[in-house]
């Protein structure tokens, strides 16, 4: 079994400005791949090169082992579906008409089309299919857009910032659906929402100014950066006075930060975290009754990214 997508040493320039600088990546089949980065990082350029809408200045792209040259072949168009950032639906038509039209564009027979529409209606909770798209709320419009992307049962589903600005319920439905789809298809999602990437992505690729700054599985990244970088221990006291007592024990060490009845043990690293933690635990002996909760807050993807961008 080959890779879903393989990008080899891609570079792209726009009017002398480097949009992508020797980018290489591999997307495994049946995974959810997150292409991350802030606005202008080069995500859309890379995506458009992958789907053949843009030609790179150098480098090669393979999708389902097929080399991309001036756009997708009909074979690939049958296997890859894109859900654009913009709604991209016929707003004067109903949900059903949109789904039916795009389903027929894949050459599906009517019976199969109707079955698929019914299935997607239930999964995405689309409600009345005979409502015009222009009359739908933003959440339903997004669900319809995703349904259109899924109607052809693609092997690869590309979501180009497709879940930006949607309500929590829709986001939950979509995320659940994507996670369930992983067994049958590869999902590539571009987003600048690291929270969303954390929620669904198996593997992330972080672009910044056209260059890769980070890639790997979420677990590996968190593990690596939890071990190598700072983390916090959050201690909640029963009241502010109790918290102040402990805070004063550490004087000018500045390893603690106090906010109301909470103390934060900040900036411990792998090299000295054991000493700090041991020292901290020794000092709070006898005050256990004042402590309501102790939790270790590991760095999330967003914090890691911010650190990486800052260091860049």
């Amino acid at each position: 079994m080959g890779d879903a997508v393989k990008v080899v040493n891609i570079s792209k320039k726009y009017k002398g400005v480097v949009a992508l600088d020797h980018v290489s990546l591999t997307i495994k089949k049946n995974s959810i791949f997150g292409l991350l980065g802030s606005n202008g990082a080069g995500k859309s350029t890379l995506l458009h090169i992958i789907i053949g809408l843009l030609n790179p200045n150098e480098g090669d792209v393979y999708v389902l082992d097929e080399k991309i040259n001036k756009g997708f072949s009909k074979n690939l168009k049958n296997k890859v579906a894109i859900v654009p950032q913009k709604l991209s639906l016929y707003e004067e038509l109903t949900i059903f008409e949109n789904l039916y039209f795009f389903a027929k564009s894949y050459g599906l027979p009517r019976k199969e089309v109707l079955e698929k529409i019914e299935g997607l209606k239930n999964i995405l909770r689309l409600g009345d299919l005979h409502r015009k798209v222009k009359n739908l709320s933003g959440g339903y419009q997004r669900r319809t857009s995703l349904a259109v992307g899924l109607i052809g049962s693609p092997e690869i589903l590309i979501l180009d910032e497709a879940t930006v600005g949607i309500d929590l319920e829709t986001k939950k439905i979509i995320n659940e659906l994507l996670l369930s789809l992983k067994e049958h298809m590869t999902v590539i999602t571009t987003t600048h929402s690291l929270e969303e990437a954390e929620a669904i992505c198996d593997y992330v690729y972080f672009l910044h100014k056209g260059k890769k700054v980070l890639e790997g599985t979420l677990q590996d990244i968190i593990k690596k950066y939890s071990a190598e970088n700072s983390g916090d221990i959050h201690i909640v006291f029963k009241d502010e006075e109790a918290a102040k007592k402990i805070f004063d024990l550490f004087g000018e060490t500045k390893i603690l930060r106090m906010e109301g009845n909470k103390l934060y043990l900040v900036s411990f690293s792998g090299q000295y975290s054991a000493n700090v933690l041991t020292n901290f635990l020794n000092k709070i002996k006898g005050y256990e009754k004042d402590i309501v909760d102790i939790s270790i807050h590991k760095p999330n993807l967003e914090e890691i990214m911010l650190q990486l961008i800052k260091s860049d």
């Binding site: 809408l53 894109i82 709604l87 991209s88 639906l89 016929y90 795009f102 564009s105």
Partner: protein, 538 residues
């Protein structure tokens, strides 16, 4: 706040660089197109074929007048009338002037010289220009022929008058001589009563001498009348009426001449009678009575000659006035029949409606799809760009076809639009124009980025197309380069074909070049659209 709103609106309006560029160019293109379509302001110097089958001074006068006219622009041509009419049929020339073989002969024979002019009536404006006061200008120019004729006739008139005056003088002399003869005869009668025969003989001899003189005068008169008859025979009548009148006059003068001839015979008879007189047995009274009788006869004839001479003068005057009133006539033929202005504009208006609607609708549709991003999404599905094109094309052709049909029938049923040829051919040409317009609309939509750009670009194409497509301004008055620019719009070809079918009654085979052009205007943008569609970005 007003200032803030103003700035915001301005920034929003001018942020679309494509729109700004088109909007700024638009007025310039409009004024150049409009100005160049009105090259000279007037409809003149229209290509004309002049066929001279007469080859005389008179026909040359006609040709000279045509060259001098600002409305006609004679071109080199050496063919028959049928050849010329083929050019007229194709509107390659606007008029054919034929000077027939018998043109000058007719004038010389006092028959109105008729020139034939065939005018292309398929173009209302050029037809009107050539068919009104302009023809009168030619008539005025041709007056030089009439002037020639007038000069000759005046001379003839004066000569005839002089001869008639001479006749009158001769008549007066004859009358005087007759009076003298009468007096002498009275003297003879008196002398017979007592004068001897010698004296009588002398008197008779004297009388004979007098009669010889009379005879000489009568011979002179006869010769003068022969001269008048000869002159009148030379005067050319200008029509049958005048010819008849001239023959009457000649007949009258001939009658006088014959009368005088009879008078000469009478004088001869008298002289013979005098020779036969036996002086010894002469009956003076009898001789006198016979001489009186003959003299009275001569006098009566003289009187009738005078009357006829006066009528000759009158008839000559009449002859001159009637002939000069219409020496030359122009027979005008509207080659494709009389047309109304609406008939002429009909082709252009129908083309405009079909062109505008068929171009605007698909252009805006695709741009809307681009703005909605649905076209991009569709481009990622297995549907081929050719299917997308033909899907859109088919819907818009049906839409345009319906619009075209009801527009056409409203024009025919309510406004009596003239359709000389087949209405099915008209529908076919308009359908081809709709196809071309849709293709162009789709192509435009693949190039422009926003609805705003399309809304300024479409009028930029449609309005100049109407102006330069010969629908409104005939090609004859447009600047030469504009006639080449006109080939850049399918409307030029549809107008040409529709005009040929609707006004001239042409069949499809006669407008094949236009059909091919319309097909090219369909196919080329179609290919460009499909190529652009494949390259479309979102």
């Amino acid at each position: 706040m007003f200032y803030t709103v103003l700035i915001k609106e301005a920034r929003q309006l001018f942020s679309d660089k494509g729109f700004l560029l088109i909007a700024l160019i638009q007025p310039l293109i409009f004024i150049v197109m409009f100005g160049s379509s009105f090259k000279g302001g007037d409809i003149n110097h229209l290509d004309t074929i002049v066929i001279d089958n007469d080859h005389t001074n008179y026909s040359q006068y006609v040709i000279d007048a045509t060259y001098e006219s600002e409305f006609f622009d004679p071109i080199n041509f050496s063919g028959t009338l049928d050849d010329a009419l083929i050019h007229l049929e194709r509107s390659e020339v606007r008029a054919v002037i034929l000077i027939p073989e018998n043109f000058s002969d007719n004038i010389d024979n006092a028959i109105t010289g008729e020139i034939e002019i065939y005018i292309d009536s398929s173009n209302f404006l050029t037809y009107s220009s050539l068919s009104g006061a302009q023809i009168e200008i030619i008539k005025e120019s041709l007056q030089r022929i009439a002037n020639d004729l007038l000069g000759g006739l005046e001379e003839e008139k004066e000569t005839s008058k002089k001869k008639i005056e001479d006749i009158k003088d001769i008549f007066d002399e004859i009358e005087t001589e007759a009076d003298k003869l009468d007096a002498e005869l009275n003297d003879i009668k008196e002398e017979f009563s007592g004068i001897d025969s010698t004296a009588i003989k002398n008197s008779i001899n004297s009388l004979k001498d007098a009669l010889q003189e009379e005879k000489t005068s009568l011979n002179q008169t006869q010769n003068a009348l022969d001269g008048i008859i000869f002159t009148l025979a030379d005067i050319k009548a200008f029509n049958q009426t005048e010819e008849d009148r001239k023959l009457i006059v000649i007949g009258q003068i001939t009658a006088i001449r014959n009368g005088i001839n009879n008078s000469i015979k009478d004088v001869d008879d008298t002289i013979r009678d005098l020779d036969e007189i036996d002086v010894g047995t002469v009956d003076a009274g009898n001789i006198s009575d016979r001489i009186d009788e003959k003299l009275d006869s001569i006098k009566n004839k003289f009187e009738s000659v005078k009357e006829i001479g006066e009528s000759i003068s009158l008839n000559l005057n009449k002859l001159q006035k009637d002939f000069l009133s219409e020496p030359i006539r122009i027979k005008e033929t509207a080659y494709h029949g009389e047309i109304k202005y609406f008939d002429y504009l009909g082709a252009g208006v129908l083309s405009l409606i079909v062109f505008f609607v068929s171009l605007m609708a698909p252009a805006l549709n695709v741009i809307y799809e681009k703005e909605q991003n649905t076209l991009y999404r569709l481009s990622t599905t297995p549907v081929s760009s050719i299917i997308v094109f033909f899907g859109k094309f088919s819907v818009f052709i049906l839409f345009s076809f319906f619009e075209m049909l009801y527009t056409l029938f409203v024009a025919i049923l309510i406004y009596d639009l003239r359709i000389t040829g087949s209405i099915y051919n008209v529908i076919l040409i308009l359908t081809l124009l709709a196809c071309a317009s849709i293709s162009i609309g789709l192509f435009i939509s693949s190039k422009v980025k926003t609805m705003q750009q399309a809304l300024v670009l479409v009028p930029l194409i449609v309005i100049p197309s109407f102006m330069i497509s010969h629908a409104f301004f005939p090609p004859d008055i447009m600047a030469e380069f504009m006639n080449y620019v006109a080939y850049a719009t399918p409307m030029t070809f549809s107008n040409h074909a529709l005009n040929a079918i609707m006004i001239k009654g042409f069949s499809l085979s006669e407008v094949l070049p236009d059909i091919y052009a319309l097909l090219a205007f369909t196919i080329v943008p179609l290919i460009l659209f499909i190529i652009n569609y494949k390259r479309m970005r979102y």
